[in-house]
Amino acid sequence: MRTLWFACRQSLLWALPATALALAVLWIGVATTGTGTPWLHVAAFLPVVASSLSAVAFWPPFATDARGAELVRRTTKGPLHGMPTATLGALLAAAACLLLLAVAASPLVPEPRAHHRLRAHERPLLDDGRIELSFALPEDCVELQLRPVVLMPRAAPEATSLQIAIDGKELAAGPVMIFGDRQLVRVPLERGSGTTVALRRISGNLPLWFDAAAVLAVDGSGPPRLLGCALAFSVWLLPLWVTLGTAMLLSRWLRQPMALVVAGVALVLQSLGQVGPATAAVTLCARGHWLLTEPIFWPCITSLGAGVAAMIAAMALRAEHRR
């Protein structure tokens, strides 16, 4: 318990100034550019990197040459010598800072709405062979978003015109023109207007492929903005978890400067390289998506599993070393 408290306090000592910096960056960035998304990423990154580095710098067993490492090894039980507890402390500190950021950032993002991915009843291709596709429409939808993949036609390309019908009733707005690949078309709907949406090709020759994310139905109401923002920011704990798991795994071979570098690189790879779900979560939040209906669940489980696997491997290696 004492280790947890010390680790959390030490991480807060690093993460709180980083959070203050993140808030300043967010405030200045949004005030001067009028756009929030890129600044949200930077803001979330700063306290997480500070917590990660503080845990590695503070708890001696993360490095072979840290001052007091030998003493800690002798006085702590378990193969990992308190590293999981230090990790938990860092996670708690980062969670507190991210929550603070979520409160500050929530006015900058739209209200979260569930975006349901609609799947066609037939093969999702509109071309010469098939001129109509239908999808089941969830209740309470207020918007339909179309973003089809445009394929090459056999003849000279002509923009495809689509008539949209809800339960067989054509929309008053008239047909929409699709002329570009992944062109976004937003169709406002009346709440509870029907249960089936049909897309009928009425002119043009561009074949349209409706993949999994090509037809989205947006719910009319959703959870509070703060909840959506807090959920998105909390996903940033996963890269921290994986980073400290990796640091545990490599702690037997690394001196402290190298351990810090490894922690930093692991975090950068997961955020900038989008290996983990953290940046995607914040981006979706900034677009007004409610994360629980997004396919971000599996990347989260993968990150969680990677951290656990690294920790188990570290335990196994340490046990082997002891023998």
């Binding site: 690093w14 009028g34 570009g180 937003r186 406002p188």
Partner: protein, 257 residues
């Protein structure tokens, strides 16, 4: 103590902000300092916004990226074109769609206008791209011509004229030369007959200087015949009908008599 460094920095900036008379300048300076922090995230954000976000989001990410790379002429052109031409909302009512399209064109042109000075040798190219952007935007959404305040052909030619003055290459010169019927028609529609004829005379003079003699001769004689029709002294009725059917002279067809 090292942990306090960011706090001390913030306090210093805060003090500068509070004490300084030019709050906006201080804010801009701080923004310039922190803007590079977003750069690593921007490339990903931009690609993601293009594929999954809406055009406005991609435009905002692109602007941040372009602010960090002011001399990147091609980048400015690509993002300006993408926003102006692909960013429309197809289900808006016609009038709202036209206003939105005009707004996007205006912002895109302003982006390119701001980028011009930083593009050095590529400045004529940026101006030529601006001319193309006007033409294409009007072709996509003809209703925006009414919002431009001047005929699209005149606006496009203004950009090309500036590009030419900055030493643009043969491509721009020929573009102006072969676009002359549209420009001429724009002046005629506005009731400025004298300027329309002056533009035509200049094009006839330039056509004679083209390096390809056959092409130069054909275009020059066509323009001479058009001038005759416009002045009302063309007597070749059969030739006039042929010119009315000529795809290159379509903008002028209503005035050929």
């Amino acid at each position: 103590m090292r942990q306090l460094a960011p706090v001390v920095t913030l306090c210093l900036f805060g003090a500068a902000y509070a004490l300084g008379g030019e709050a906006k300048a201080v804010e801009d300076s701080i923004a310039a300092l922190v803007r590079p922090l977003t750069l690593p995230f921007l490339w990903r954000s931009l690609a993601d916004a293009t594929a999954h976000g809406d055009p406005r989001e991609a435009w905002e990410a692109a602007q941040l990226l372009l602010e960090a790379t002011p001399g990147w002429a091609d980048g400015h052109t690509v993002f300006a074109f993408r926003y102006a031409l692909d960013g429309g909302d197809a289900v808006l009512p016609k009038a709202a769609r036209e206003v939105a399209a005009f707004d996007r064109l205006r912002l895109s042109l302003r982006l390119l206008e701001d980028a011009r000075a930083e593009c050095g040798k590529r400045e004529p190219q940026v101006l030529s791209d601006m001319a193309w952007l006007v033409e294409l935007a009007v072709r996509n959404e003809p209703g925006i011509a009414a919002h431009l305040g001047t005929d699209p052909a005149v606006l496009a030619d203004r950009y090309l004229e500036q590009a030419e003055a900055l030493g643009a290459g043969r491509m721009v010169l020929e573009q102006r030369l072969y676009e002359v019927p549209r420009l001429c028609a724009a002046f005629l529609r506005a009731g400025d007959r004298e300027r329309a004829l002056a533009v035509l005379d200049e094009a006839i003079r330039r056509a004679g200087q083209q390096p390809d003699p056959a092409l130069a001769h054909e275009w020059r004689s066509t323009l001479l015949a058009v001038r005759g029709d416009l002045r009302g002294d063309g007597e070749d009725a059969a030739g006039r009908e042929l010119r009315k059917a000529d795809a290159r002279l379509q903008p002028l067809a209503p005035f050929l008599r």
